[in-house]
Symmetry: C2
């Protein structure tokens, strides 16, 4: 069995209190005693039990993060930014993916029991569940989702990015556009749609094309629907994957792009560059990093009132939206 603090105490001929002091170099300990303890600890290869410590300190020194998936680059980047800051702050990171998980809510509850606070990404958990967490005293930061019941939040300026993108399209004489994506899947997507609506003049026409999920396959499928009827001037997709799926199918169908139809995505993932896809970049890693900092403030108690951060977005114009719409 592994050595405990009592073994070290016995070996060094001191009390466990003294061993604890030495290991946490808190109170002053006589140097000779200190050395004896360190020698004993070294001799026994003593490593303090994280569990014992956590229970006594009543803190986990760990944060959680809940995300729907890690497939696309988006969530992976957010998680990375989060982990990086959390590690700096001396906290472990627990992850929980809700993909294909029917018991997501109970899983989140269980996770909340194992950490000092957690970040919830997007629409992974119902509002009511988040509120329940907060009421029970959990520290919660929402990312890519409007704040709920006093929780902190971090979001990208979706509306602003959407407006910039829309204005760019308007400059190209786009008048009929289709938004591809389901605003109900994610608050972020809903915001993007709203931004477009805000920037659109009365003489423009915006249709909404619902899709079941935001992946390439769905994008390709969407194109199929339009091959038998009129194409709009432009498709604006809820994310890049969707747009990339459309690109593939459009070019396979021989549609002139960006001449006949323009396509834009969202996120600026790596593949977007290769496809020459116009998109709106959002600071994915920074979203995670900011969430980690806010969470730390909540946990350490240095701030008690909720705060809501907005991070910038940036329009990235590439070849899928070049040239004016043919008259």
């Amino acid at each position: 069995m592994r050595a405990t603090i009592r073994d070290v105490a016995r070996e060094a001929g001191v009390s466990i209190a003294t061993v604890s002091r030495v290991l946490r170099d808190s109170t002053a300990v006589r140097p000779t005693t200190r050395d004896r303890v360190l020698a004993a600890a070294d001799e026994l290869e003593f490593v303090p039990s994280a569990l014992g410590r956590q229970l006594a300190e009543r803190r986990h020194a760990a944060n959680g993060i809940v995300f729907p998936d890690l497939s696309g680059p988006y969530y992976a980047e957010v998680v990375l930014g989060y982990e990086s800051v959390a590690a700096e702050l001396g906290r472990s990171v627990l992850i929980l993916s809700t993909r294909d998980r029917p018991d997501a809510e109970s899983a989140v509850q269980a996770m909340a029991e194992r950490c000092d606070g957690l970040v919830v990404l997007g629409r992974t958990v119902p509002d009511a569940a988040v509120e329940r967490l907060v009421v029970r005293g959990a520290h919660v930061v929402m990312v890519a989702r409007p704040p709920v019941g006093g929780a902190d939040s971090v979001n990208a300026r979706n509306r602003q990015g959407a407006r910039a993108l829309t204005e760019h399209l308007l400059d190209l004489d786009v008048r009929r556009l289709v938004f591809v994506g389901d605003p109900s899947t994610s608050p972020d997507v809903a915001e993007r749609l709203r931004g477009i609506q805000e920037a659109l003049p009365a003489d423009a026409d915006l249709q909404l094309h619902h899709v079941d999920s935001l992946d390439e396959e769905c994008g390709a499928h969407v194109v199929g629907d339009y091959l038998t009827r009129a194409l709009p001037d432009a498709f604006v997709c809820a994310n890049d994957e969707l747009a990339l799926g459309m690109l593939g199918r459009l070019s396979a169908a021989g549609v002139d792009l960006p001449g006949r139809v323009k396509v834009a995505g969202w996120d600026d993932v790596m593949a977007a560059r290769y496809a020459g896809l116009t998109t709106v970049r959002q600071p994915m890693r920074e979203l995670g990093a900011t969430a980690a900092r806010l969470l730390d403030e909540l946990i350490s108690g240095s701030r008690s009132h909720p705060t809501h951060e907005l991070l910038p977005t940036q329009l990235v114009v590439r070849s899928t939206t070049l040239g004016k719409v043919a008259p």
Copy 2:
């Protein structure tokens, strides 16, 4: 403060032992007592402390996973496969990225204190450190890396994939090829290089082009070196990102591809499809899932001897390696 088991016991007029029994429905408890306890627990909104339980049971019910990064799709997929299985087995997942972390080894040690076992991906931690973990009784599974000191391992058949790819290139009359990547960065990469060497006939020429990291930027940079000197028949890259970086730069330089030079990558990430990149697919998610299962066997004690799994790879031919080399 949150209710503890003692509060519930008092409220229900029973001992804590009985409360514990009811909550874990272990030993038989009289139904009326049981109901009283459940009512009290419900009334007090009692949720058992994970820490208390873990300390008493002397298990964390959590697994760790150490990876270098999460930027590319590769590690993200592995982590996802891992998390998915771990969750099914009722274990939480702790993550640790070693990217830009000078104290990686101590961070891994700390993580090992917080979980029942962990998975180490690629060259994130020195062999000696892994051995130390194993010696101290930690359950360790290595992924994309040769086993160390009695740890389990899960790997893709890199050699086999590399041979298949090489034979494909040979069929196209490729004779002079350059392997782009640093075999010392990862055992996986070293295996791929070895596979190529094995499949190459004596009259073929294989050069090794070292790069500092396996990202697109490096790929683009590599191309720069060849614009002033002779191009090989084909570039085989250590991963897709590298290959994609090369593709962009090559086409910018107006090099005929795949006529003048062929390019192949590794992993089959999403962007590879859009770029029409020939590559070798490996079952990323399955690597993680398998690791989680092996780890569970280790932790549950259902297996004590180390085991080593090899997962299949698959050659995916696309447009970057079409047509024979011009004579």
